[in-house]
């Protein structure tokens, strides 16, 4: 699992790629926090375009990033979510807390 950060149009884009399971989430959790702390963004987008698989570890990652942004007055959007991760997101109910957009 890989993560990279880039500023586009005033927002911080966190692009994830790979399989977001417990193993993958462990690999990117610390980097996500570091990138957010470095940029202190008002708006942040997690781009799920290249996330082919996700389990509930992805929910923990999204909630974690959302909390970190909340602490600095930032907002999170999750975009380009494919069918399988979307089903996990819907089962968890977090789309009531975080703005989620399907692919």
């Amino acid at each position: 699992m890989k993560i990279s950060g880039e500023i586009k149009g005033g927002a911080l884009f966190l692009s994830l790629s790979g399989e977001l399971d417990h193993h993958g989430a462990k690999e990117v959790m610390a980097s996500a926090a570091e990138i957010i702390d470095e940029h202190v963004p008002r708006n942040c987008v997690m781009d799920f375009k290249d996330v082919g698989f996700m389990d509930s570890s992805g929910i923990a990652l999204i909630l974690n990033v959302n909390k970190r942004l909340g602490n600095i007055g930032g907002r999170l959007r999750v975009e380009n979510v494919a069918r399988q991760p979307m089903k996990v997101i819907k089962a968890s109910g977090i789309e009531r807390i975080v703005s989620i957009k399907e692919q």
Binding site: E19, S56, S57
Partner: protein, 144 residues
């Protein structure tokens, strides 16, 4: 109930084996000619069950996870995950959505809820100090 077909695989509780376990079950399930959605559901549930073994059954140590898959009556896949780890004191509590004894930064407490909603039938047997067995079944409509 005729068991036509089964596999047994044992592997160490390393997080790098989560992907292996779900791919392995997906390969086995392929002979039932599942739809892509059915296959995704099975992989998701297996990922949750295996992660539970890694995080909760064997905290701070590497134990063995025993996985068994079988096909029942040509249309139902059963996946069973057995560990000999710490076990669960209160299974009903563990199955509640959002309940976790894990690190809340890492775990959302959604594992059992997702297994239930993605597989249909989930049975949990556990004895503190002895280990836990999770048995999940999904009946596939297939692409007949």
């Amino acid at each position: 109930m005729k068991t036509k077909d089964y596999i047994k695989v044992s592997f160490p509780s390393l997080s790098s084996n989560e992907g292996f376990a779900r791919s392995c079950v997906a390969c086995f399930a392929a002979r039932l000619d599942p739809t892509l959605d059915e296959l995704s559901d099975i992989k998701t549930a297996v990922s949750e069950a295996v992660t539970n073994c890694i995080v909760h059954a064997y905290p701070g140590e590497i134990g063995t996870i025993h996985m068994r898959c079988r096909i029942i009556d040509d249309k139902t896949i059963e996946v069973s995950l057995r560990d000999t780890g710490v076990g669960i004191e209160d299974v009903d509590k563990a199955r509640e959505p959002l309940f976790t004894t894990g690190d809340p930064c890492e775990r959302a407490g959604m594992g059992f809820s997702i297994m239930e909603s993605f597989m249909g039938k989930v049975k949990v047997r556990s004895k503190p100090g002895k280990g836990t067995t999770v048995v999940m079944r999904k009946t596939l409509d297939g692409r007949k």
